[in-house]
């Protein structure tokens, strides 16, 4: 008999522009005016949660996003895909610039306890910073098992069967609930929200909380010293003989 777990899905609101520019003061990347939307891996996580609910294996899907006012857009999209309600953790300004995996995982851990969640689903990484840490850190803070890079998820009683995509191939594991799962590309193909569902989503609630309400300290343990573009690709050099090549390589300190 399957337990009625209630999962929490967390969504990244990240920027998705093909042209990234470094700020003139080299403190970071320009994000003003850059188009933001839901992280693709998080879409996959939402889809998985909604599918589990449709199979009646879980009770309720709560979509969470941490960020400024605009990040509520991602919650709305999740609601349109089938999530039941949303929680917007309001973080803006300097706090938002410093918001990294550690801070987000502390927030999620606090929320999970508050909501009595049994399952946390996230994307494996955000495509703007590629950190790939939030899921793992959240599990550690909660002392929960983690199933990362999941390409298949199935619930079996109060355990979860997972297939993980790892360097060597596919790994099959079985973990207890409550647990943290991070979604990889091949877990599923996210659905389009239908027009009726978008309209129904309007009636679903999004609660706003502040990190302070959750007792979370947002100070960053990291200090960004400098952000710069990769070095420009320089022209190569043609040599006549193999001996010349070896001499040049030695000169450049490569051998």
């Amino acid at each position: 008999k399957c337990p009625r777990v209630s999962p929490v899905v967390t969504l990244c609101y990240c920027f998705v522009s093909p042209q990234i520019r470094v700020k003139p003061d080299n403190t970071g990347v320009v994000t003003d005016g850059v188009k933001h939307s839901m992280n693709p891996f998080c879409e996959i996580a939402v889809e998985e949660a909604v599918k589990l609910k449709e199979k009646k294996l879980i009770k309720e899907v709560v979509a969470v996003s941490c960020g400024p006012q605009q990040s509520q857009e991602t919650i709305r999209t999740a609601l349109a895909m089938g999530a039941d309600r949303g929680i917007h953790v309001d973080v803006s300004g300097k706090d938002y610039e410093n918001l990294g995996p550690l801070q987000v995982s502390k927030i999620l851990a606090a929320l999970a306890k508050q909501e009595d969640a049994q399952l946390i689903l996230l994307g494996k990484q955000a495509i703007d910073d590629d950190c790939n840490q939030t899921g793992q850190m959240t599990a550690a803070l909660l002392d929960w098992p983690q199933g990362t890079f999941a390409s298949e998820v199935s619930l079996e009683g109060d355990k979860i069967n997972l297939v993980r995509e790892i360097d060597g191939g596919l790994e099959h594991i079985k973990i207890n609930t409550p647990a943290v799962i991070t979604a990889d590309l091949r877990l599923n193909t996210p659905r389009y929200a239908t027009l009726p569902n978008i309209m129904k989503a309007k009636k679903k609630k999004i609660a706003t909380v502040k990190p302070a309400d959750l007792g979370v300290d947002l100070t960053s343990r990291l200090e960004v010293l400098k952000v710069e573009e990769p070095p420009q690709r320089e022209a190569g050099m043609k040599v006549e003989t193999v001996e010349d090549l070896v001499v040049k390589l030695k000169e450049a300190g490569r051998v």
């Binding site: 998705v16 522009s17 389009y192 239908t194 027009l195 009726p196 978008i198």
Partner: protein, 418 residues
């Protein structure tokens, strides 16, 4: 909103609709949209959601196939059914018969976005929507329940039959006759240039039941397979190749009186009411094509180098692009205003829909044409999408009322005494 129970009984949510992820980045056409032409400006959050779904669907399900559908003349039934499952089959049809119950403005936004994926297919979907709406609005209970659910799910497809070989702009002079005999009409005549003709299942036909002129015209729904209904050859067209176009021929075709929408003599009125919305939809399709073309042109200018620098450094081209963007936004605003006017049933609705259709289809064609020019020789190759946008939207200046007829409607509004 209708009760969810009734909705789920009627709307067949068959297979799960999934996106075909071409790239993980997703909708590459939307990334990095230049801010000033962003079509999401001024929209409500909900409208932005509708737009997002439509853009995503267009980029993932339509754009990759646009060229193939054009070259092989494929009517993409499966893709359109997928669109219907998202609610695009009867966007402004009422929910109690399976429609999405959205506004004319929501509809315009959706067609504009879908059109960036394939103009021809989107234009057909808009015609289908128009027919579904006509039955929804003017049909009685039995007709609505019989036809609308299947049309909204695109289980069945529809065609709008007004034009004849002898009556295009002079639509009220149509000759297809419908003689009453007991509880049937006997139809004789033929319709020309019917979008979807031969491949669709439900034909909304304007025919003459009474005397001359508009007051003698009625609207009948004719189902495919009715004896006496046949089709001409598939026309070979410059564009709109993902939808078949054929003549629809009636030879002593018996149609039940129960299939008549509204009263005898009301047909012309129904046809024109349908066209008001149809004009906004077609104009919206032109808008999507122009939007896509401006982005293609912009991307090309940033990449192509001549005379030692990128084309984007050339002032003439910068100015040309600015003009294209300005006309694009102007067209969009006029269309959205017309959609609002129609939704609110304003007194100027007919005139402003005509203005929007006239202005937008002309300007957007020029935009796409300019975009092709900016591509140089490459613009002429079928490997590049811009030529298909040009070919596909050329006909928007002609159908659903030629732009000349639009001028007639507008001048009549200006010069009439009342």
């Amino acid at each position: 909103m209708a009760a969810v129970g009734a909705l789920s009984r009627i709307v067949r949510l068959g297979s799960r609709i999934c996106k075909n992820r071409v790239t993980l980045g997703g909708n590459s056409q939307r990334r990095g949209i230049a801010a000033c032409i962003d079509p999401s400006h001024g929209l409500t959050d909900e409208q932005k959601e509708f737009q997002k779904v439509a853009f995503d669907f267009a980029a993932n399900e339509m754009a990759p196939h646009m060229a193939e559908w054009d070259q092989k003349e494929i009517f993409p039934v499966e893709t359109m059914r997928k669109a219907a499952q998202l609610g695009f089959g009867g966007i402004y049809v009422q929910p109690d018969v399976g429609g999405s119950g959205l506004s004319r403005l929501d509809t315009s936004i959706i067609f504009e976005a879908l059109s960036t994926g394939c103009v021809s297919t989107t234009a057909y979907i808009s015609i289908h929507n128009m027919c579904a709406w006509m039955i929804d609005s003017y049909g009685n209970k039995e007709q609505r329940e019989k036809f609308c659910p299947d049309l909204c799910s695109m289980e069945r497809f529809a065609s709008y039959c007004l034009t004849e070989p002898g009556s295009g702009s002079d639509a009220a002079s149509l000759l297809t006759s419908a003689q009453r005999k007991g509880d049937h009409y006997i139809l004789n005549g033929s319709k020309a240039f019917i979008s979807g003709g031969g491949d669709t299942d439900v034909y909304v036909v304007m025919c003459r039941t009474g005397g001359k002129g508009p007051k003698g015209i009625s609207c009948l729904v004719v189902e495919k397979g009715t004896p006496g209904l046949s089709f001409g050859k598939k026309e070979k067209k410059v564009g709109w190749n993902s939808q078949p176009t054929r003549a629809v021929i009636f030879e002593d075709c018996l149609v039940p009186v129960a299939n008549r929408l509204g009263e005898e003599g009301q047909g012309f009125n129904i046809a024109m009411k349908g066209l008001n919305g149809g004009r906004i939809n077609i104009a919206s399709c032109s808008l999507g094509a122009a939007h896509a073309s401006v982005q293609l042109a912009r991307d090309h200018l940033l990449v192509r180098k001549q005379f030692g620098e990128t084309l984007s450094n050339n002032q003439f081209l910068q100015f040309k692009l600015a003009e294209m963007a300005t006309k694009l936004v102007a067209s969009r605003l006029l269309i959205r205003e017309a959609a609002q006017a129609l939704q609110e049933n304003r007194s100027d609705a007919v005139a402003i829909c005509s203005m929007a259709k006239l202005f937008a289809t002309d300007e957007c064609f020029n935009i796409c044409n300019q975009a092709l020019q900016m591509h140089g020789g490459y613009g002429y190759l079928k490997d590049y999408a811009v030529q298909q946008f040009v070919r596909d939207i050329r006909v928007h200046q002609i159908l659903e009322g030629t732009n000349e007829v639009m001028r007639m409607i507008i001048s009549r509004n200006l010069l009439s005494e009342s």
